[in-house]
Symmetry: C2
Subunit: 218 residues, 2 copies
Amino acid sequence: MTSPDLDHVADDPPPPARRYTKGDRTKERIVEAAADLFSKSGYLAVSQRDIAAQAEITHAGLLHHFPGGKDELLMQVLERRDADDAVVLFDEHLDAWGHLDQTVRIVERNARTPGLVALYAKLSNEASDVNHPAHTYFRRRYEILREHFATVLGELVDRHGDRSALDPDTVAQQLIALLDGLQTQWLLAPETIDMRARLVDFLALLGVDTTGWRTDSA
Amino acid sequence: MTSPDLDHVADDPPPPARRYTKGDRTKERIVEAAADLFSKSGYLAVSQRDIAAQAEITHAGLLHHFPGGKDELLMQVLERRDADDAVVLFDEHLDAWGHLDQTVRIVERNARTPGLVALYAKLSNEASDVNHPAHTYFRRRYEILREHFATVLGELVDRHGDRSALDPDTVAQQLIALLDGLQTQWLLAPETIDMRARLVDFLALLGVDTTGWRTDSA
DNA sequence: GTCTATACGACGATAGAC
DNA sequence: GTCTATCGTCGTATAGAC
């Protein structure tokens, strides 16, 4: 799937509460430009020079701030988006049903931001190579997601005891797989698939009460 | 998912039953080299010069046979693999249950060929861009797959009438999504997931009798 | 029809001046 | 902190030898 998560993934030491320097503002501009271009054209189609131009800096100037080049920029963009999603996904005030509801909402939002969704989808596959700059990031990401949904689904299975044969952890893997796979099809041919409806169908199949969600508006 | 399909996708006019020329053999060597390198290193990491070198030909010589460069080579590699899978997937002597059984077998085989699986996975996401050389190919591919599984699932739903509320076409979308998504997780962290077992779980959830399949050997 | 030689512009990367 | 200059490699293209 596309966005949920992290802060957790990038658990750097807390930033030393420094003052904003000129370089920080330049960095900001560069990351902004990178996010914009990545979302529009994908990761691989964008060059360092493109990003530098949009940030109104030289190609070499960009590399001064981000020696890792596109890879490093990419991580910045990912972590930035993740911070947003972590807020809604890991809200401790929600019960299991509420968490699934949030998941549906994230799917709905994703359907409105194809650029970033496509970026995540491409990356999560590129990153299967152990040498890819985002490999560790995505491994951690899926680990956290699986844990999250296993907990959520575990609670729901306990409540509707009728399906107690289902193992929360493996069902979580299935749920995540479904979300990812739906996105692949949706990105390829948006008019042929209703991601939200298919997700709700699956939850219904699991025995989750989806009344109020079930609007098959494809 | 990774491989099933086509001949159907590349519906060129039947080849004019020509004799093998020297160039055909060279083409063969080049496609072989491309398939090998793509599987090992992915599509984007491989250069035309790499392929040419492995095929023992000049970079420009390669372009004589494949003016479209890597893109054209890519399609050759894809269609070659597809020809194999079409045989087992679209076998008309099989009933619906047999077709699902073949699907499970393909998943098992995929688990033994990570290179090509990774290539397909990366491509099916890269190809969401309408300008990608394989965009049309993948659209067609998913269309055929959905049709195929809709038919298969439709028959099974008819037999076990108890779940007749399920729409074969949308369930087919879910099944394909599951297969794709499981691969993403498996490529990223093979030791954490059993693709075959998760597929069988899903089929069981649909009410398909999976006795004899259920070997949760993760 | 098969292939080599050669060149072009854009890329990621680095060194060093200001 | 930002620049210019330069490197080797990439995909692409063309001219012409065999």
